[in-house]
Symmetry: C2
Subunit: 556 residues, 2 copies
């Protein structure tokens, strides 16, 4: 109990509050700032062309002298995927468990970092790391990736505890269960505020153990008469282990397919988190030596996401796997909302190829996040004075808040926070009134944050009704048309079948140009906006469509 | 038993096979053609800008002299929404039950038809309609719209039975249950082929009765302390009835909001399918006379789809309803796959406004389609010799086929059909080898079928990385640049922040033009494709984005 007496703690989510993804929470203890997790999120459907979304870290950059450390709870992209972007702007030590460090190294070297220049500190969950105002300790949790931890910042005002992603899996695949005793110990020491995972706060009951997937996989492996293809998350090391086990039990050889899967496997294997029995693993080049009943292909897609692999296999454009009649394909994941359409389309295509597709089987995919009873258990163990549900959108946060209320945490001690909110604790008061800058930074190709609302709005307009470009060349002196109007459209109509429409549009433009010339009004912006408005109206009347209209005036 | 001896029946789905939506089945009995249902489908997410999708009816147009009648099973859009487009090309009588005829009249007048010119025939489900080769009879089914029927074409070779959409609801809201005795009678007469609804073929067990929704609504109405807003399908007359009943029980007045809802209510009320107790209905203008606890707003969105209304209310752009803290909003529908994201976003926005949102409550929305046990019951009642699962994608069809197999219909008597397939029955043989033209006709604004793959592909490209337009004006004689290159982009980058990129692109273009001029190569298409390729490469290298590049060369 060495801690300095303090009287100022701020909890500031910069990502992960009011949303699922890009988790980044800031714990500000007196003059020391700690970052907890630094994840990315994949774009929503209307973010046309965007590859990734990361948190706006202006607040961190502005306070970078105060930042003491980044703590990472586990190695999933939504918790580590923004690290590279942060490290480009802030040099700070990163603390994480062994597997998590392995995965972080992987993404950092991928982003071109020299790992020697990065201060990566592997922590043992039993460790206690002392700073001026706080001592940071950890507790093992269970999630669908090994080596997941919760993080506790002990202070003179009590602890701030962040759960990370968790479920209470009492029979995890690696037999390393949640450290309930440590949680209880932390709870007994006095928790000022619990920051907890809301993902499944709307789901009643308990989430089943990951180990039931092993049984179900084994059943499917037993029944399959041809080749087996299993698509799952490359980050779900437990599930990969269970596929390997089922393969070994059923005398099948495993082929790891695809870059992401091979990388995840090689890191986990090297660090001892994945155990592959001898003579189970083969290379793609050896496949011909075996008959169909002896093979399992284990694959994932881009960014470790299984459904993109399934989609490629279904469209017969997958580089490694050519599906054929008699294959059994197991989709060991559940589509996130919004993805079902694509998945179902893939399943239909696969079935058309004669593939037996196992999907939507509850036993083949279980969530890595605890359901309501588990969330309550966490709150009971921590007995926090204040509660902040995070890692979820508002409806999940509200559901989580209701659970907390049901077990005795009064409504006014629960903070429903949004990104940028500042929950400010002093000995005298607690409030959530201030806000710091927070939001989405969009990554498109090499551009970070250069795509703003205007570009996105244009993409939406273009997607809907296409574009009509109008080019006119005018004589600089006489302002008479010397070439054009030329009308070119893309994504609007098939021009060859719409000659009359284009002719009429040309007439409209000519009339407007002549009017402008005869009136001596050479305000090009005025002429352009006239062309835009008149064509808009005309085309909408004729087609009930609203293409983007882009008038270009050239002078010679 | 008056029927002529025949020896040729063809069942041809033109929509609804291998997909959910745009149901249209053709029954070809000797030289007489019958159309069963004529529906539309809403576009998939990658059909940018498309409003509706209808079946390709080339086959019908080519055979229009043989078409004797259209039979409609019930009044949902996916069964009647393509009628207007068909009637524009084919004049043929339409047979349907009373409510269905009411709804058909509504959409036809909406499309500008003179109803007097259309041969609409209201049928009683007890009727039998005789044609040269067949006698057509009907059987009442239960679905989430009243007056739903199945259709049986009795022939000398046995009957062809089409179930329409159905579940076995023994306690339907209007107390008019499924006519099991008639089904049994038809089955006993001998069914050659059953064509049945596969929507819920993947769902085990039974679908609950629609009447449980009434109980759940009543509970929510009882608990609500402020205004109630219920969003549901305008076509689900039973559910509208139950909202009215719950309102009456809880002493609330009902306001119908929105054009679609008001139309559906007025048609159903006028025809006696909706019973509104006295003093229950009020107008929007009377709302101020009541306190919040006395009000229920019943609304639906565009095309009778509740979620678009919910989304508008959430974004506070709904014309009729301004949500406020204390309101309870009940979403009495389940988002279809692909729509969840939008719905969840709306729920979060509503919760941020302080609205209590009731969603995903299993009791508040039940499906209108029977689950596995009900599908088996239908097969048992009909005892068909052959079976065609329709109204579902391939995975649903396969699930349905497996159910049929499980209860004794051999695999080779089940046809997994796609649109355009011809299942051909003669006394000697049955096969599915021929195919007629079938597919999607896209409707965008006023254009029917004018949007093809090129326009859609362009919209996809534009959506992803935008467009870069390059305009150069050249002297007709010297082929020197006299104006430009002008580079304008939309949806690609924010140009003001990318001056250097534009400068470099300009240099590349100038170089290419000069080269072309100096070489005396005035093949504009060659220059254009050079510009396109070089800019593509350059921009991808610099930004990892691939905007559409549109070079335009003007000559003066």
């Amino acid at each position: 109990m060495i801690k300095k007496e303090i009287n100022d703690i701020k909890v500031i989510p910069l990502g992960g509050a009011g949303e699922v993804g890009k988790n980044l929470y800031v714990i500000n203890i007196d003059e020391e700032i700690f970052i907890v997790d630094a994840g990315l999120k994949f774009p929503e459907s209307e973010m046309y062309g965007i590859d990734k979304v990361i948190p706006d870290i202006t607040y961190l950059v502005e306070n970078k002298e105060k930042i003491k450390a980044v703590f990472i709870s586990h190695g999933h992209e939504d918790h580590i995927g923004a690290l590279a972007y942060i490290l480009k702007k802030i040099n700070v030590p990163i603390y994480a468990t062994r597997l998590t460090i392995g995965l972080i190294k992987d993404i950092l070297s991928d982003e071109g970092f020299n790992l020697k220049s990065i201060n990566l500190k592997t922590i043992n969950p039993d460790a206690k790391i002392k700073f001026e105002n706080t001592a940071v300790s950890f507790f093992r949790t269970t999630h669908n990736i090994p080596d997941s931890i919760g993080i506790s910042f002990q202070t003179s005002m009590g602890s701030i505890v962040y759960t990370g992603d968790f479920k209470f899996d009492y029979s995890p695949v690696d037999s390393i269960g949640p450290d309930i005793n440590k949680m209880s110990y932390i709870g007994n020491q006095g928790v000022l505020c619990l920051i907890s995972d809301s993902t499944n706060a709307e789901k009643p009951g308990y989430t089943p153990s990951e180990s039931i997937v092993g049984v179900a996989l084994n059943n499917e492996f037993f029944k399959a008469n041809g080749r087996l293809i299993v698509a799952t998350f490359s980050s779900n090391i437990h599930r990969i282990q269970q596929v390997i086990n089922a393969a070994a039990t059923n005398n099948r050889k495993v082929v790891f397919v695809g870059h992401c899967m091979q990388r995840a496997v090689s890191i986990s294997k090297e660090l001892g988190y994945l155990k592959i029995p001898k003579n189970t693993l083969i290379q793609m080049s050896e496949v011909d030596k075996y008959n169909d009943k002896q093979l399992v292909f284990l694959t994932t897609g881009n960014q470790g996401e299984p459904l993109s692999a399934v989609s490629k296999i279904a469209k017969q454009v997958h580089k490694g796997i050519v599906a054929k009649s008699g294959d059994t394909l197991i989709i060991a994941s559940t589509p996130v909302p919004g993805d079902e359409i694509v998945v179902y389309k893939s399943i239909n295509l696969l079935m058309r190829l004669g593939v037996n597709v196992i999907y939507n089987e509850k036993q083949i995919h279980v969530s890595g996040h605890g359901s309501q009873e588990e969330l309550k258990l966490m709150i009971q163990l921590m007995k926090p004075k204040y509660f902040i549900p995070v890692h979820g959108d508002l409806k999940m946060q509200i559901a989580h808040a209701k659970l907390a209320e049901n077990i005795g945490i009064e409504r006014d001690r629960v903070f429903l926070v949004d990104n940028g909110d500042v929950v400010h604790f002093t000995k005298e008061s607690v409030n959530n009134v201030k806000k710091v800058q927070a939001g989405n930074v969009l990554i498109d190709g090499l551009g970070i944050g250069d795509i703003g609302n205007i570009v996105l709005r244009d993409r939406r307009l273009l997607a809907h009704d296409g574009i009509l470009v109008v080019v006119i060349t005018l004589n600089k002196v006489t302002k008479k048309v010397v070439s054009g109007p030329e009308i070119i459209s893309r994504g609007f109509i098939y021009v060859r079948e719409s000659e009359k429409l284009i002719e009429q549009s040309t007439e409209i433009i000519n009339r407007l140009v002549n009017k402008s010339t005869s009136e001596g009004n050479f305000e090009w912006s005025f002429l352009k906006s006239n062309i835009r408005d008149s064509l808009n109206e005309f085309l909408y009347e004729k087609t009930k469509r609203k293409p983007m209209i882009l008038p270009i005036i050239m002078e010679v």
